[in-house]
Protein backbone atom coordinates (compact mmCIF):
# COMPACT_ATOMS: atom_id res chain seq x y z
CA UNK A 1 0.00 0.00 0.00
CA UNK A 2 2.80 2.39 0.94
CA UNK A 3 4.52 1.75 -2.37
CA UNK A 4 1.39 2.48 -4.38
CA UNK A 5 0.84 5.86 -2.73
CA UNK A 6 4.33 6.93 -3.72
CA UNK A 7 3.72 5.84 -7.28
CA UNK A 8 1.04 8.42 -8.16
CA UNK A 9 2.99 11.63 -7.38
CA UNK A 10 6.18 10.11 -8.80
CA UNK A 11 4.55 9.26 -12.12
CA UNK A 12 2.94 12.70 -12.22
CA UNK A 13 6.28 14.45 -11.64
CA UNK A 14 7.91 12.33 -14.37
CA UNK A 15 5.07 13.37 -16.69
CA UNK A 16 5.72 17.02 -15.75
CA UNK A 17 9.46 16.80 -16.26
CA UNK A 18 9.47 14.98 -19.63
CA UNK A 19 8.53 17.95 -21.87
CA UNK A 20 10.84 20.22 -19.87
CA UNK A 21 13.70 17.74 -20.27
CA UNK A 22 12.97 17.52 -23.99
CA UNK A 23 13.13 21.30 -24.31
CA UNK A 24 16.48 21.47 -22.50
CA UNK A 25 17.75 18.52 -24.52
CA UNK A 26 16.84 20.27 -27.80
CA UNK A 27 18.47 23.52 -26.68
CA UNK A 28 21.91 21.84 -26.60
CA UNK A 29 21.59 20.26 -30.05
CA UNK A 30 22.62 21.62 -33.41
CA UNK A 31 19.91 22.18 -36.01
CA UNK A 32 21.32 19.32 -38.07
CA UNK A 33 21.05 16.89 -35.20
CA UNK A 34 17.49 17.99 -34.37
CA UNK A 35 16.25 17.51 -37.91
CA UNK A 36 18.46 14.55 -38.79
CA UNK A 37 18.20 12.01 -35.99
CA UNK A 38 16.10 11.10 -32.98
CA UNK A 39 18.31 11.11 -29.90
CA UNK A 40 17.46 11.09 -26.21
CA UNK A 41 20.44 13.28 -25.32
CA UNK A 42 22.58 15.66 -27.39
CA UNK A 43 25.34 13.76 -29.24
CA UNK A 44 27.01 16.88 -30.60
CA UNK A 45 26.74 18.99 -27.48
CA UNK A 46 26.69 22.68 -28.39
CA UNK A 47 26.23 25.98 -26.55
CA UNK A 48 25.78 27.95 -29.79
CA UNK A 49 22.07 28.55 -29.19
CA UNK A 50 22.73 30.14 -25.82
CA UNK A 51 25.67 32.14 -27.12
CA UNK A 52 23.47 33.57 -29.84
CA UNK A 53 20.86 34.68 -27.30
CA UNK A 54 23.37 36.31 -24.96
CA UNK A 55 25.19 38.17 -27.73
CA UNK A 56 22.31 39.28 -29.96
CA UNK A 57 20.63 42.41 -28.59
CA UNK A 58 17.19 41.63 -30.07
CA UNK A 59 17.24 38.44 -27.98
CA UNK A 60 18.62 39.42 -24.59
CA UNK A 61 16.80 42.76 -24.63
CA UNK A 62 13.57 40.75 -24.64
CA UNK A 63 14.42 39.26 -21.25
CA UNK A 64 15.31 42.66 -19.82
CA UNK A 65 12.03 44.11 -21.13
CA UNK A 66 9.96 41.28 -19.69
CA UNK A 67 11.58 41.52 -16.28
CA UNK A 68 11.20 45.32 -16.20
CA UNK A 69 7.46 45.39 -16.82
CA UNK A 70 6.83 42.37 -14.60
CA UNK A 71 8.62 43.98 -11.64
CA UNK A 72 6.90 47.31 -12.28
CA UNK A 73 3.52 45.61 -12.42
CA UNK A 74 4.17 43.67 -9.20
CA UNK A 75 5.12 46.90 -7.39
CA UNK A 76 2.05 48.80 -8.62
CA UNK A 77 -0.39 45.93 -7.99
CA UNK A 78 0.76 45.11 -4.46
CA UNK A 79 1.08 48.75 -3.36
CA UNK A 80 -2.40 49.64 -4.59
CA UNK A 81 -3.93 46.43 -3.28
CA UNK A 82 -2.63 46.73 0.30
CA UNK A 83 -4.91 49.55 1.59
CA UNK A 84 -7.83 48.22 -0.44
CA UNK A 85 -7.49 44.72 1.00
CA UNK A 86 -7.30 46.25 4.47
CA UNK A 87 -10.53 48.15 3.85
CA UNK A 88 -12.29 45.00 2.62
CA UNK A 89 -11.09 42.92 5.56
CA UNK A 90 -11.80 45.48 8.32
CA UNK A 91 -14.66 47.75 7.28
CA UNK A 92 -18.18 47.61 5.99
CA UNK A 93 -18.96 50.34 3.52
CA UNK A 94 -21.55 51.18 0.93
CA UNK A 95 -21.36 48.69 -1.94
CA UNK A 96 -18.38 46.76 -0.58
CA UNK A 97 -19.63 43.36 -1.73
CA UNK A 98 -20.53 44.60 -5.21
CA UNK A 99 -17.21 46.35 -5.51
CA UNK A 100 -15.36 43.17 -4.57
CA UNK A 101 -17.28 41.19 -7.15
CA UNK A 102 -16.72 43.87 -9.77
CA UNK A 103 -12.97 43.65 -9.12
CA UNK A 104 -13.12 39.89 -9.53
CA UNK A 105 -15.02 40.17 -12.82
CA UNK A 106 -11.92 41.77 -14.28
CA UNK A 107 -9.98 38.63 -13.43
CA UNK A 108 -12.65 36.82 -15.47
CA UNK A 109 -12.47 39.02 -18.56
CA UNK A 110 -10.93 37.15 -21.47
CA UNK A 111 -7.81 39.09 -22.55
CA UNK A 112 -8.82 38.47 -26.15
CA UNK A 113 -11.83 40.75 -25.55
CA UNK A 114 -9.57 43.58 -24.46
CA UNK A 115 -6.72 43.26 -26.95
CA UNK A 116 -8.05 45.72 -29.52
CA UNK A 117 -9.48 48.41 -27.19
CA UNK A 118 -6.28 48.26 -25.15
CA UNK A 119 -4.24 48.90 -28.24
CA UNK A 120 -6.34 51.98 -29.00
CA UNK A 121 -6.41 53.23 -25.40
CA UNK A 122 -2.67 52.98 -24.90
CA UNK A 123 -1.89 54.43 -28.32
CA UNK A 124 -4.17 57.39 -27.57
CA UNK A 125 -2.59 58.00 -24.16
CA UNK A 126 0.91 57.93 -25.65
CA UNK A 127 2.02 55.00 -23.52
CA UNK A 128 2.23 52.49 -26.37
CA UNK A 129 5.45 50.45 -26.43
CA UNK A 130 6.59 51.40 -22.91
CA UNK A 131 7.09 49.23 -19.84
CA UNK A 132 4.41 51.25 -18.08
CA UNK A 133 1.79 50.33 -20.69
CA UNK A 134 2.21 46.59 -20.15
CA UNK A 135 2.56 47.00 -16.37
CA UNK A 136 -0.68 49.00 -16.21
CA UNK A 137 -2.52 46.63 -18.55
CA UNK A 138 -1.58 43.64 -16.42
CA UNK A 139 -3.06 45.45 -13.40
CA UNK A 140 -6.43 44.50 -14.91
CA UNK A 141 -6.12 40.94 -13.63
CA UNK A 142 -3.33 41.26 -11.07
CA UNK A 143 -4.89 43.89 -8.80
CA UNK A 144 -8.10 41.90 -8.24
CA UNK A 145 -6.00 38.83 -7.52
CA UNK A 146 -3.69 40.71 -5.12
CA UNK A 147 -6.70 42.19 -3.29
CA UNK A 148 -8.27 38.75 -3.04
CA UNK A 149 -5.11 37.10 -1.66
CA UNK A 150 -4.22 39.92 0.75
CA UNK A 151 -7.77 40.15 2.04
CA UNK A 152 -7.60 36.45 2.92
CA UNK A 153 -4.36 36.88 4.85
CA UNK A 154 -5.50 40.10 6.57
CA UNK A 155 -8.73 38.49 7.77
CA UNK A 156 -6.54 36.03 9.64
CA UNK A 157 -5.04 38.84 11.76
CA UNK A 158 -7.22 39.53 14.83
CA UNK A 159 -8.77 42.99 15.26
CA UNK A 160 -7.19 43.28 18.71
CA UNK A 161 -3.87 44.07 17.02
CA UNK A 162 -5.35 47.23 15.46
CA UNK A 163 -7.11 48.29 18.63
CA UNK A 164 -4.06 47.81 20.87
CA UNK A 165 -1.99 49.94 18.52
CA UNK A 166 -4.55 52.77 18.58
CA UNK A 167 -4.67 52.63 22.39
CA UNK A 168 -0.89 52.91 22.39
CA UNK A 169 -1.23 56.14 20.42
CA UNK A 170 -0.22 54.99 16.95
CA UNK A 171 -1.66 56.97 14.03
CA UNK A 172 -3.33 54.87 11.35
CA UNK A 173 -0.57 54.98 8.75
CA UNK A 174 2.18 54.47 11.31
CA UNK A 175 0.34 51.41 12.63
CA UNK A 176 -0.30 50.16 9.12
CA UNK A 177 3.32 50.38 7.99
CA UNK A 178 5.17 49.59 11.22
CA UNK A 179 2.96 46.92 12.78
CA UNK A 180 0.35 45.61 10.37
CA UNK A 181 2.43 45.07 7.23
CA UNK A 182 5.18 43.10 9.01
CA UNK A 183 2.52 40.84 10.53
CA UNK A 184 1.26 39.82 7.08
CA UNK A 185 4.69 39.70 5.42
CA UNK A 186 4.04 36.14 4.19
CA UNK A 187 0.82 37.27 2.54
CA UNK A 188 2.58 40.13 0.78
CA UNK A 189 5.21 37.71 -0.45
CA UNK A 190 2.55 35.38 -1.80
CA UNK A 191 0.63 38.22 -3.48
CA UNK A 192 3.82 39.49 -5.09
CA UNK A 193 4.59 35.95 -6.26
CA UNK A 194 1.21 35.66 -7.97
CA UNK A 195 1.47 39.07 -9.61
CA UNK A 196 4.92 38.14 -10.86
CA UNK A 197 3.64 34.81 -12.11
CA UNK A 198 0.61 36.04 -14.04
CA UNK A 199 2.44 39.01 -15.51
CA UNK A 200 5.35 36.81 -16.53
CA UNK A 201 3.26 34.17 -18.29
CA UNK A 202 0.84 36.51 -20.09
CA UNK A 203 1.61 37.16 -23.72
CA UNK A 204 -1.45 38.37 -25.65
CA UNK A 205 -1.69 41.82 -24.02
CA UNK A 206 2.07 42.25 -23.66
CA UNK A 207 2.49 41.54 -27.35
CA UNK A 208 -0.37 43.79 -28.41
CA UNK A 209 0.92 46.79 -26.44
CA UNK A 210 4.53 46.71 -27.59
CA UNK A 211 6.36 46.86 -30.89
CA UNK A 212 10.11 47.39 -30.50
CA UNK A 213 11.25 49.15 -27.33
CA UNK A 214 9.41 47.12 -24.70
CA UNK A 215 8.90 43.89 -26.61
CA UNK A 216 8.73 40.88 -24.27
CA UNK A 217 10.91 37.81 -24.77
CA UNK A 218 7.84 35.69 -25.44
CA UNK A 219 6.98 37.86 -28.44
CA UNK A 220 10.54 37.66 -29.75
CA UNK A 221 10.13 33.90 -29.68
CA UNK A 222 6.91 33.87 -31.70
CA UNK A 223 8.57 36.02 -34.34
CA UNK A 224 11.43 33.56 -34.66
CA UNK A 225 9.05 30.64 -34.94
CA UNK A 226 7.19 32.23 -37.82
CA UNK A 227 9.76 34.07 -39.92
CA UNK A 228 13.07 32.26 -39.59
CA UNK A 229 11.56 28.87 -40.29
CA UNK A 230 12.51 26.05 -38.04
CA UNK A 231 15.18 27.25 -35.65
CA UNK A 232 14.10 24.74 -33.05
CA UNK A 233 17.40 24.75 -31.14
CA UNK A 234 17.34 28.51 -30.68
CA UNK A 235 13.66 28.46 -29.76
CA UNK A 236 14.32 25.74 -27.17
CA UNK A 237 17.22 27.66 -25.64
CA UNK A 238 15.08 30.80 -25.37
CA UNK A 239 12.27 28.75 -23.83
CA UNK A 240 14.62 27.11 -21.34
CA UNK A 241 15.83 30.53 -20.22
CA UNK A 242 12.24 31.71 -19.56
CA UNK A 243 11.80 28.89 -17.04
CA UNK A 244 14.67 30.13 -14.86
CA UNK A 245 13.08 33.27 -13.32
CA UNK A 246 9.99 31.25 -12.40
CA UNK A 247 12.04 28.50 -10.77
CA UNK A 248 14.01 31.15 -8.90
CA UNK A 249 10.86 32.81 -7.53
CA UNK A 250 9.30 29.48 -6.55
CA UNK A 251 12.39 28.66 -4.50
CA UNK A 252 11.86 31.81 -2.41
CA UNK A 253 8.21 31.18 -1.61
CA UNK A 254 8.45 27.38 -1.36
CA UNK A 255 7.13 27.32 2.21
CA UNK A 256 4.11 29.48 1.41
CA UNK A 257 3.12 28.09 -1.99
CA UNK A 258 0.33 25.84 -0.73
CA UNK A 259 -1.29 28.47 1.48
CA UNK A 260 -0.82 31.09 -1.20
CA UNK A 261 -2.64 29.10 -3.85
CA UNK A 262 -5.54 28.77 -1.43
CA UNK A 263 -5.55 32.59 -1.43
CA UNK A 264 -4.94 32.63 2.32
CA UNK A 265 -8.35 31.09 2.99
CA UNK A 266 -7.83 27.54 4.07
Amino acid sequence: MKRITWLVPTLYIIFLMLPIYWLINMSFKTTNEILGTFSLWPHNFTLDNYIKIFTDRTWYQGYINSICYVVLNTLISVTAALPAAYAFSRYKFLGDKHLFFWLLTNRMAPPAVFALPFFQLYSASGLFDTYLAVALAHCLFNIPLAVWILEGFMSGVPRELDETAYVDGYSFWRFFIKIFLPSIAAGIGVAAFFCFMFSWVELLLAKTLTSVEAKPIAATMTRTASTAGYELGLLSAAGTLTIIPGAFVIYFVRNYIAKGFALGRV
Binding site: L7, V8, P9, Y12, I13, L16, L18, P19, I20, W22, L23, L35, L40, I76, A80, P83, A84, A87, F88, R90, Y91, K92, F93, D96, L104, T105, N106, M108, A109, P110, P111, A112, V113, L116, P117, L121, L136, C139, L140, I143, P144, S155, R159, V201, E202, L203, L204, A218, M221, S236, I243, P245, G246, I250, R254, N255, I257, A258, F261, A262
Partner: protein
Protein backbone atom coordinates in the same frame (compact mmCIF):
# COMPACT_ATOMS: atom_id res chain seq x y z
CA UNK B 1 -14.22 35.72 9.76
CA UNK B 2 -13.70 38.79 11.87
CA UNK B 3 -16.34 41.32 12.77
CA UNK B 4 -16.25 44.28 10.38
CA UNK B 5 -17.29 47.79 11.43
CA UNK B 6 -19.08 50.42 9.34
CA UNK B 7 -16.74 53.06 7.98
CA UNK B 8 -17.56 54.93 4.77
CA UNK B 9 -14.07 56.44 4.68
CA UNK B 10 -12.83 53.02 3.64
CA UNK B 11 -13.74 54.13 0.13
CA UNK B 12 -10.62 56.28 0.10
CA UNK B 13 -8.46 53.24 0.73
CA UNK B 14 -10.07 51.42 -2.17
CA UNK B 15 -9.84 54.42 -4.48
CA UNK B 16 -6.39 53.73 -6.03
CA UNK B 17 -7.48 50.23 -6.95
CA UNK B 18 -10.75 51.46 -8.43
CA UNK B 19 -8.99 54.11 -10.53
CA UNK B 20 -6.36 51.71 -11.86
CA UNK B 21 -8.82 48.97 -12.69
CA UNK B 22 -11.43 51.36 -14.07
CA UNK B 23 -8.87 52.85 -16.47
CA UNK B 24 -8.18 49.35 -17.75
CA UNK B 25 -11.67 47.93 -17.60
CA UNK B 26 -14.32 50.60 -18.06
CA UNK B 27 -12.81 52.55 -20.96
CA UNK B 28 -11.99 49.49 -23.09
CA UNK B 29 -15.32 47.89 -22.25
CA UNK B 30 -17.16 51.03 -23.38
CA UNK B 31 -15.15 50.96 -26.60
CA UNK B 32 -16.27 47.40 -27.18
CA UNK B 33 -19.90 48.28 -26.44
CA UNK B 34 -19.58 51.17 -28.86
CA UNK B 35 -18.27 48.99 -31.68
CA UNK B 36 -20.85 46.31 -31.03
CA UNK B 37 -23.77 48.55 -32.05
CA UNK B 38 -22.16 50.34 -34.99
CA UNK B 39 -20.89 49.72 -38.50
CA UNK B 40 -17.68 51.30 -39.76
CA UNK B 41 -16.08 51.62 -43.18
CA UNK B 42 -12.85 53.06 -41.80
CA UNK B 43 -11.84 56.72 -41.42
CA UNK B 44 -13.59 56.88 -38.06
CA UNK B 45 -17.04 57.06 -39.68
CA UNK B 46 -19.64 55.08 -37.77
CA UNK B 47 -23.27 54.16 -38.41
CA UNK B 48 -25.77 53.03 -35.80
CA UNK B 49 -26.69 49.39 -36.29
CA UNK B 50 -28.53 48.53 -33.09
CA UNK B 51 -28.56 44.88 -32.24
CA UNK B 52 -27.76 43.62 -35.73
CA UNK B 53 -24.31 42.26 -34.83
CA UNK B 54 -25.62 40.46 -31.78
CA UNK B 55 -28.28 38.72 -33.86
CA UNK B 56 -25.74 37.88 -36.52
CA UNK B 57 -23.29 36.38 -34.02
CA UNK B 58 -25.92 34.45 -32.10
CA UNK B 59 -27.21 32.90 -35.32
CA UNK B 60 -23.86 32.21 -36.95
CA UNK B 61 -22.77 28.62 -37.45
CA UNK B 62 -19.20 29.61 -36.82
CA UNK B 63 -19.95 30.97 -33.33
CA UNK B 64 -21.97 27.87 -32.45
CA UNK B 65 -19.14 25.65 -33.62
CA UNK B 66 -16.42 27.37 -31.61
CA UNK B 67 -18.72 27.60 -28.59
CA UNK B 68 -19.39 23.86 -28.77
CA UNK B 69 -15.68 23.14 -29.03
CA UNK B 70 -15.04 25.43 -26.08
CA UNK B 71 -17.65 23.72 -23.89
CA UNK B 72 -16.38 20.24 -24.80
CA UNK B 73 -12.80 21.26 -24.10
CA UNK B 74 -13.59 22.88 -20.74
CA UNK B 75 -15.71 19.91 -19.62
CA UNK B 76 -13.03 17.39 -20.55
CA UNK B 77 -10.20 19.18 -18.79
CA UNK B 78 -12.31 19.80 -15.65
CA UNK B 79 -13.28 16.12 -15.55
CA UNK B 80 -9.64 15.07 -15.82
CA UNK B 81 -7.85 17.72 -13.79
CA UNK B 82 -10.06 17.94 -10.69
CA UNK B 83 -10.13 14.19 -9.78
CA UNK B 84 -6.47 13.74 -10.81
CA UNK B 85 -5.43 16.75 -8.75
CA UNK B 86 -7.27 15.43 -5.68
CA UNK B 87 -5.73 11.98 -6.13
CA UNK B 88 -2.21 13.39 -6.32
CA UNK B 89 -2.75 15.68 -3.33
CA UNK B 90 -4.00 12.70 -1.28
CA UNK B 91 -1.02 10.51 -2.14
CA UNK B 92 1.82 13.03 -2.00
CA UNK B 93 3.95 13.31 1.19
CA UNK B 94 2.32 15.61 3.73
CA UNK B 95 5.45 17.16 5.28
CA UNK B 96 9.23 17.23 5.24
CA UNK B 97 11.65 17.44 2.34
CA UNK B 98 9.50 15.23 0.11
CA UNK B 99 6.56 17.64 0.39
CA UNK B 100 8.69 20.70 -0.42
CA UNK B 101 10.29 18.93 -3.36
CA UNK B 102 6.90 17.87 -4.73
CA UNK B 103 5.48 21.39 -4.33
CA UNK B 104 8.43 23.08 -6.04
CA UNK B 105 8.56 20.63 -8.97
CA UNK B 106 4.79 20.69 -9.41
CA UNK B 107 4.59 24.50 -9.46
CA UNK B 108 7.16 24.70 -12.23
CA UNK B 109 4.70 24.39 -15.17
CA UNK B 110 2.61 27.23 -13.74
CA UNK B 111 5.52 29.67 -14.03
CA UNK B 112 6.35 29.01 -17.67
CA UNK B 113 5.12 31.67 -20.14
CA UNK B 114 2.08 30.33 -21.97
CA UNK B 115 3.55 30.57 -25.43
CA UNK B 116 6.62 28.65 -24.22
CA UNK B 117 4.24 25.95 -22.97
CA UNK B 118 2.78 25.80 -26.47
CA UNK B 119 6.20 25.79 -28.13
CA UNK B 120 7.49 23.17 -25.69
CA UNK B 121 4.62 20.81 -26.43
CA UNK B 122 4.99 21.48 -30.11
CA UNK B 123 8.62 20.35 -29.96
CA UNK B 124 7.73 17.48 -27.60
CA UNK B 125 4.91 16.13 -29.76
CA UNK B 126 6.38 16.57 -33.25
CA UNK B 127 6.24 13.32 -35.20
CA UNK B 128 9.71 11.85 -35.92
CA UNK B 129 11.81 14.31 -33.88
CA UNK B 130 9.66 14.94 -30.78
CA UNK B 131 9.79 12.48 -27.89
CA UNK B 132 6.02 11.97 -27.64
CA UNK B 133 5.46 11.85 -31.39
CA UNK B 134 8.34 9.43 -31.91
CA UNK B 135 7.32 7.06 -29.10
CA UNK B 136 3.64 7.00 -30.06
CA UNK B 137 4.44 6.49 -33.73
CA UNK B 138 6.91 3.71 -33.01
CA UNK B 139 4.16 1.91 -31.08
CA UNK B 140 2.35 1.70 -34.39
CA UNK B 141 -0.26 4.35 -33.64
CA UNK B 142 -0.84 6.88 -36.37
CA UNK B 143 -0.31 10.23 -34.66
CA UNK B 144 0.32 13.65 -36.17
CA UNK B 145 -1.16 16.65 -34.40
CA UNK B 146 -0.66 18.99 -37.31
CA UNK B 147 -2.84 16.89 -39.61
CA UNK B 148 -5.34 14.86 -37.61
CA UNK B 149 -8.01 16.63 -35.55
CA UNK B 150 -8.13 13.81 -33.00
CA UNK B 151 -4.37 13.91 -32.41
CA UNK B 152 -4.54 17.68 -32.09
CA UNK B 153 -7.28 17.43 -29.46
CA UNK B 154 -5.44 14.76 -27.49
CA UNK B 155 -2.26 16.85 -27.56
CA UNK B 156 -4.03 20.02 -26.41
CA UNK B 157 -5.80 18.20 -23.59
CA UNK B 158 -2.54 16.52 -22.51
CA UNK B 159 -0.88 19.93 -22.59
CA UNK B 160 -3.56 21.53 -20.45
CA UNK B 161 -3.47 18.66 -17.96
CA UNK B 162 0.30 19.04 -17.83
CA UNK B 163 0.04 22.80 -17.40
CA UNK B 164 -2.73 23.19 -14.85
CA UNK B 165 -3.33 20.00 -12.82
CA UNK B 166 -0.70 21.29 -10.38
CA UNK B 167 -2.96 24.19 -9.48
CA UNK B 168 -5.64 21.75 -8.32
CA UNK B 169 -3.00 19.70 -6.49
CA UNK B 170 -1.65 22.73 -4.63
CA UNK B 171 -5.11 23.93 -3.63
CA UNK B 172 -6.22 20.48 -2.45
CA UNK B 173 -2.94 20.05 -0.60
CA UNK B 174 -3.52 23.37 1.20
CA UNK B 175 -6.98 22.20 2.18
CA UNK B 176 -5.70 18.83 3.37
CA UNK B 177 -2.86 20.22 5.47
CA UNK B 178 -5.35 22.42 7.34
CA UNK B 179 -7.08 19.31 8.80
CA UNK B 180 -6.05 18.85 12.46
CA UNK B 181 -4.45 15.49 13.42
CA UNK B 182 -7.23 14.98 15.97
CA UNK B 183 -9.73 14.35 13.16
CA UNK B 184 -7.70 11.38 11.93
CA UNK B 185 -7.29 10.02 15.46
CA UNK B 186 -11.02 10.17 15.97
CA UNK B 187 -11.51 8.38 12.65
CA UNK B 188 -9.03 5.70 13.71
CA UNK B 189 -10.92 5.09 16.96
CA UNK B 190 -14.14 4.72 14.97
CA UNK B 191 -12.25 2.31 12.65
CA UNK B 192 -13.21 4.31 9.60
CA UNK B 193 -12.14 2.99 6.19
CA UNK B 194 -9.94 5.02 3.84
CA UNK B 195 -12.97 5.85 1.73
CA UNK B 196 -14.96 7.00 4.77
CA UNK B 197 -12.09 9.26 5.88
CA UNK B 198 -11.99 10.75 2.42
CA UNK B 199 -15.74 11.13 2.07
CA UNK B 200 -16.56 12.47 5.55
CA UNK B 201 -13.38 14.28 6.67
CA UNK B 202 -11.12 15.20 3.77
CA UNK B 203 -13.65 16.08 1.10
CA UNK B 204 -15.75 18.44 3.27
CA UNK B 205 -12.57 20.16 4.45
CA UNK B 206 -11.43 20.63 0.86
CA UNK B 207 -14.78 21.98 -0.29
CA UNK B 208 -13.75 25.60 -0.08
CA UNK B 209 -10.41 25.28 -1.89
CA UNK B 210 -11.96 22.99 -4.49
CA UNK B 211 -14.53 25.66 -5.28
CA UNK B 212 -11.67 28.08 -5.91
CA UNK B 213 -9.93 25.44 -8.04
CA UNK B 214 -13.00 24.78 -10.18
CA UNK B 215 -13.67 28.50 -10.52
CA UNK B 216 -10.11 29.28 -11.62
CA UNK B 217 -9.87 26.31 -13.95
CA UNK B 218 -13.24 27.08 -15.50
CA UNK B 219 -12.38 30.75 -16.09
CA UNK B 220 -8.92 30.14 -17.43
CA UNK B 221 -9.82 27.22 -19.66
CA UNK B 222 -12.73 29.19 -21.08
CA UNK B 223 -10.34 32.00 -22.02
CA UNK B 224 -7.55 29.76 -23.30
CA UNK B 225 -5.77 31.36 -26.23
CA UNK B 226 -1.98 31.34 -26.32
CA UNK B 227 -1.20 27.66 -25.77
CA UNK B 228 -3.44 26.15 -28.49
CA UNK B 229 -2.63 29.09 -30.77
CA UNK B 230 1.08 28.33 -30.59
CA UNK B 231 0.60 24.56 -30.67
CA UNK B 232 -1.90 24.13 -33.49
CA UNK B 233 -2.91 27.63 -34.57
CA UNK B 234 -6.54 26.51 -34.25
CA UNK B 235 -6.10 23.78 -36.82
CA UNK B 236 -6.00 21.40 -38.53
CA UNK B 237 -8.81 23.19 -40.31
CA UNK B 238 -10.85 24.75 -37.55
CA UNK B 239 -10.88 21.71 -35.32
CA UNK B 240 -9.18 23.38 -32.34
CA UNK B 241 -10.41 26.95 -32.86
CA UNK B 242 -11.70 27.85 -29.40
CA UNK B 243 -13.64 31.01 -28.60
CA UNK B 244 -10.67 33.30 -27.94
CA UNK B 245 -8.82 32.14 -31.04
CA UNK B 246 -11.89 32.71 -33.17
CA UNK B 247 -12.42 36.12 -31.61
CA UNK B 248 -8.87 37.27 -32.29
CA UNK B 249 -9.16 35.97 -35.86
CA UNK B 250 -12.27 38.08 -36.44
CA UNK B 251 -11.08 41.20 -34.56
CA UNK B 252 -7.40 41.49 -35.45
CA UNK B 253 -7.27 39.25 -38.52
CA UNK B 254 -10.32 40.28 -40.52
CA UNK B 255 -10.83 43.56 -38.63
CA UNK B 256 -14.61 43.00 -38.48
CA UNK B 257 -14.98 45.24 -35.46
CA UNK B 258 -18.78 45.09 -35.08
CA UNK B 259 -19.24 41.30 -35.01
CA UNK B 260 -16.03 40.89 -32.98
CA UNK B 261 -17.23 43.36 -30.36
CA UNK B 262 -20.67 41.77 -30.15
CA UNK B 263 -19.06 38.35 -29.83
CA UNK B 264 -16.71 39.69 -27.11
CA UNK B 265 -19.61 40.90 -25.03
CA UNK B 266 -21.63 37.70 -25.41
CA UNK B 267 -18.52 35.70 -24.51
CA UNK B 268 -17.74 37.90 -21.49
CA UNK B 269 -21.34 37.75 -20.24
CA UNK B 270 -21.35 33.94 -20.38
CA UNK B 271 -18.13 33.73 -18.35
CA UNK B 272 -19.46 36.34 -15.95
CA UNK B 273 -22.79 34.63 -15.43
CA UNK B 274 -21.25 31.23 -14.68
CA UNK B 275 -18.66 32.78 -12.36
CA UNK B 276 -21.36 34.74 -10.53
CA UNK B 277 -23.20 31.49 -9.83
CA UNK B 278 -19.99 29.91 -8.48
CA UNK B 279 -19.12 33.00 -6.44
CA UNK B 280 -22.56 33.22 -4.84
CA UNK B 281 -22.43 29.54 -3.92
CA UNK B 282 -18.95 30.01 -2.49
CA UNK B 283 -19.92 33.02 -0.39
CA UNK B 284 -22.97 31.19 0.91
CA UNK B 285 -20.71 28.35 2.05
CA UNK B 286 -18.47 30.79 3.82
CA UNK B 287 -21.32 32.52 5.63
CA UNK B 288 -22.57 29.20 6.94
Amino acid sequence: MIERIHNQKAWFMVLPVILLVAFNAVIPLMTVVNYSVQETFGNNVFFWEGLKWYEQVLHSERFHASMTRQIIFTSIILLIEIPLGIAIALTMPRKGLGATLCLVLMSLPLLIPWNVVGAMWNIFALPEIGFLGHVVNSMGIDYNFTQQPISAWVTIIAMDVWHWTSLVVLLSYAGLSAIPEAFYHAAQIDTATKWQIFRYIQLPKMKHVLTIAILLRFMDSFMIYTEPFVLTGGGPGNSTTFLSIDLVKIALGQFDLGPAAAMSLIYFLIVLLLCWVFYTLMMRNEAR
